[in-house]
């Protein structure tokens, strides 16, 4: 299984760090990518991850109202929706892409989000693009 | 030869017109039967032109069927479906076939009908249309100046809707239609009599009631649901709540609808400047004779 987490440096990325420091266990199949803010997320980034064989893409932004740049996480949510729309148009399950909001001091929420995504894509099966690249 | 409608109106008598909706088929008999049934209950009958943008038997063809039955038609002609070439040609054709009254209309947008994908025309609007047809009649020329061997004989009508907005502009629009060539005006169905009277006082203030024949429109209601539908769904219609309540509380709504329509006609006739009544009994045409009779407007004058 290949998961990609596109994380905001202020919350999501910090939470992964904290999860590590606290020795919390979660799937090793997840590749964590740091964004300055989820406001930097582009629809293209999500699609690129999918094209490169990700079975699931998780965008991790700050809690709504807590964005360091005010609206970055809200914009990101719209782009995630747009990416889901494109996934649907080209015949891929839009559920392979999700966004979660959490705070830097909530590592367990990050762990939970990864586990939820893992269970979900396992149920759906691997992305057809993952097979292509294997 | 002057149209019967024109004769009645110029004689100063209260005119009566009514509406016949052509069928959604090639069956002329529907129109013929209605014409026979309605003969004598009005001075002339409007043949609607693909109303609400539904494809129907053409208004000119329906008008000819009426003529064959000795019933005078008012052919409605919308700007939605024809450019100025077709419009002038149809006017010549109508006149050649003996049709004397043409009602100039913008027409309902095609999005209401069964040809929603259609491209509309609107080469001219109803005011431009009046200008075209008046020029043909009065100057014996088509638009642009080419001479007609024989000018059409036409009595030109237009619509007015005192219930559309902006209200203050409605009398201005009437004045423009008059300036463009309207000889008579048929109004939208009147339920909000107060607003109609306010509009009429503006009409009189401009002296327009002496220059054009205003024929007040009425539509009998079959049920309170119809009234609600018109209030909520039909743009440019006002149906006051007291009318809806009256229909709702009626023991026999259909009878009540007719009674109310008759009352309205009696009242509208008393308004200065109203020269006629137009009965739009949509899909209920058979009731026209009884409505006109109970309103005290029978028999129709022979002029």
């Amino acid at each position: 299984m290949k998961l990609v987490a596109l994380t905001c440096s202020f919350c999501g990325y910090a939470a992964t760090d904290l999860a590590g420091l606290q020795g919390m266990k979660y799937s090793s199949d997840v590749t964590i990518i740091r964004l300055p803010c989820t406001g930097r997320l582009d629809v293209k980034h999500v699609l690129q991850a999918v094209r490169m064989g990700a079975d699931g893409v998780l965008v991790v932004g700050c809690l709504e109202g807590n964005c360091n740049y005010q609206y970055g996480n809200l914009e990101a949510r719209k782009r995630v929706e747009q990416a889901k729309g494109i996934m649907k148009e080209i015949g891929l399950e839009p559920e392979r892409v999700e966004m979660v909001n959490l705070a830097s001091n909530q590592p367990w929420r990050f762990v939970q989000a990864v586990e939820d995504m893992y269970v979900k894509v396992e149920r759906m099966g691997p992305s057809p693009l993952n097979k292509v690249r294997r | 030869m002057m149209s019967n409608l024109q004769s009645v109106l110029s004689s100063g008598r209260m005119a009566v017109t009514a509406e016949i909706g052509p069928p959604k088929s090639a069956d002329a008999e529907t129109v013929r039967k209605l014409a026979r049934h309605l003969k004598g209950s009005a001075d002339a009958f409007n043949l609607t032109d693909n109303q609400t943008a539904m494809v129907r038997l053409s208004s000119i063809a329906s008008g000819v069927v009426c003529l064959q039955e000795g019933v005078e038609p008012i052919v409605q002609m919308t700007c939605r479906d024809r450019n100025r070439i077709a419009m002038q040609s149809d006017a010549l054709g109508a006149s050649a076939l003996g049709i004397r009254n043409i009602l100039c209309l913008s027409g309902d947008h095609q999005c209401f009908g069964n040809q929603k994908e259609a491209k509309n025309v609107y080469d001219v609007d109803s005011i431009g249309q009046l200008m075209l047809l008046r020029k043909m009649r009065d100057e014996g020329q088509v638009w642009g100046g080419d001479k007609l061997e024989k000018a059409p004989e036409l009595f030109l009508g237009a619509a007015a809707n005192p219930f559309a907005d902006p209200f203050e502009h409605r009398v201005v629009r009437l004045a423009k239609k008059l300036a463009a060539g309207a000889d008579f005006i048929q109004t939208q169905s009147i339920y909000d009599v107060d607003r109609f009277e306010r509009w009429m006082s503006q009409v009189r203030a401009r002296g327009l009631h002496e220059k054009v024949h205003i024929i007040a429109g009425v539509m009998p209601l079959k049920s309170h649901k119809v009234a609600l539908y018109m209030k909520n769904k039909v743009s440019g219609m006002i149906v006051p709540d007291h009318i809806i309540d009256r229909m709702k509380n009626a023991a026999d709504p259909k009878e009540e609808g007719i009674r109310m329509c008759v009352e309205q006609i009696k009242h509208l006739q008393s308004i200065e400047g109203v020269h006629g009544i137009h009965v739009m009994a949509v899909a209920w045409e058979e009731k026209v004779p009884v409505i006109v009779k109970e309103a005290g407007l029978l028999p129709r004058p022979v002029v």
Binding site: D42, V43, K44, L47, Q48, V50, R51, I86, E89, I90, G91, L92, P128, L129, V132 | C79, R80, R84, S106, G107, D108, H109, C111, F112, N120, Y122, D123, V124, D125, S126, I127, G128, M131, L132, W143, A159, A160, N161, F163, A164, D165, P166, H169, V172, R173, A175, K176, A179, A180, Q188, S235, G236, M237
Partner: protein, 233 residues
């Protein structure tokens, strides 16, 4: 500006049947502003097409380029090297840009990735309204600065029809009545007198009805001698 929107991806994919190597071409002018065909949209569509190709095993080569202005030959000419080797151009420029591309690259099939809609303006971010009917004979001085051709559903010239109610058009309660807007604009300017003047049937020869339009600015056109002296095309 020109307002356009992207066709659904499955429609674009249908058009690509039989092609192997495509260049997605965007434009940084109008269609970038209406978020239909700028650099970002080019990259997203390209990525989606690459996924499509991987999913179906089409083996497509999808490349991208975004021009400064796709409606001018000078700019479109600059992508010559990029175009070579491709058997299709997917234009994310407006219909004008797509045609200029086809004209400059007559051997490559140009496919429209956008549906070009109208001449309009952004009302707010993400909302674009048609403003100009392009009739070739502007009447805005008579209509309070609001175009009756574009903003009345029936392109009426003499005021609102009987379907105008509460400022809305009969076609849809979400569509403002253009003539209601004109009326209130003239009211604000103090020129309601203009609503009283009947406007005769319009001369549509300068509109699309007169055939494809061509405007020549004599003082700007170069003579053959001037062209050769200046090395102009």
């Amino acid at each position: 500006m020109i307002i356009a929107e992207q066709k659904p991806i499955p429609r674009i994919v249908e058009m690509l049947e039989g092609h192997k190597s495509m260049l997605v071409v965007g434009c940084r002018s109008c269609v970038a502003i209406c978020l239909a065909g700028g650099e970002k949209e080019v990259s997203i569509l390209s990525e989606a097409l690459r996924i499509e190709s991987d999913l179906k095993g089409n083996g497509w080569q999808v490349d991208e380029v975004t021009l400064e202005r796709a409606c001018e030959k000078e700019w479109v000419g600059e992508m010559r090297e990029k175009v070579s080797g491709h058997d299709a151009i997917i234009s994310l420029a407006c219909g004008v840009g797509a045609q200029v591309m086809q004209e400059l690259y007559p051997d490559v099939r140009v496919l429209p990735g956008l549906d070009t809609s109208n001449m309009g303006a952004p009302e707010e971010q993400g909302i674009y309204l048609e403003k100009c009917g392009g009739c070739g004979d502007c009447v805005l001085h008579l209509t309070g600065g609001i175009c009756p051709i574009a903003r009345c559903s029936k392109s009426l010239l003499n005021g609102p029809c009987g379907g105008s109610q509460n400022g809305k058009c009969e076609i849809d309660p979400d569509v403002p009545c253009g003539w209601d807007q004109i009326y209130h604009s003239l009211e604000r300017i103090g020129r309601l007198d203009l609503m009283e003047v009947p406007i005769p049937p319009k001369d549509w020869r300068r509109s699309r009805s007169g055939g494809p339009r061509k405007i020549v600015r004599k003082e700007a056109v170069l003579t053959p001698e001037e062209k050769s002296a200046r090395g102009a095309r």
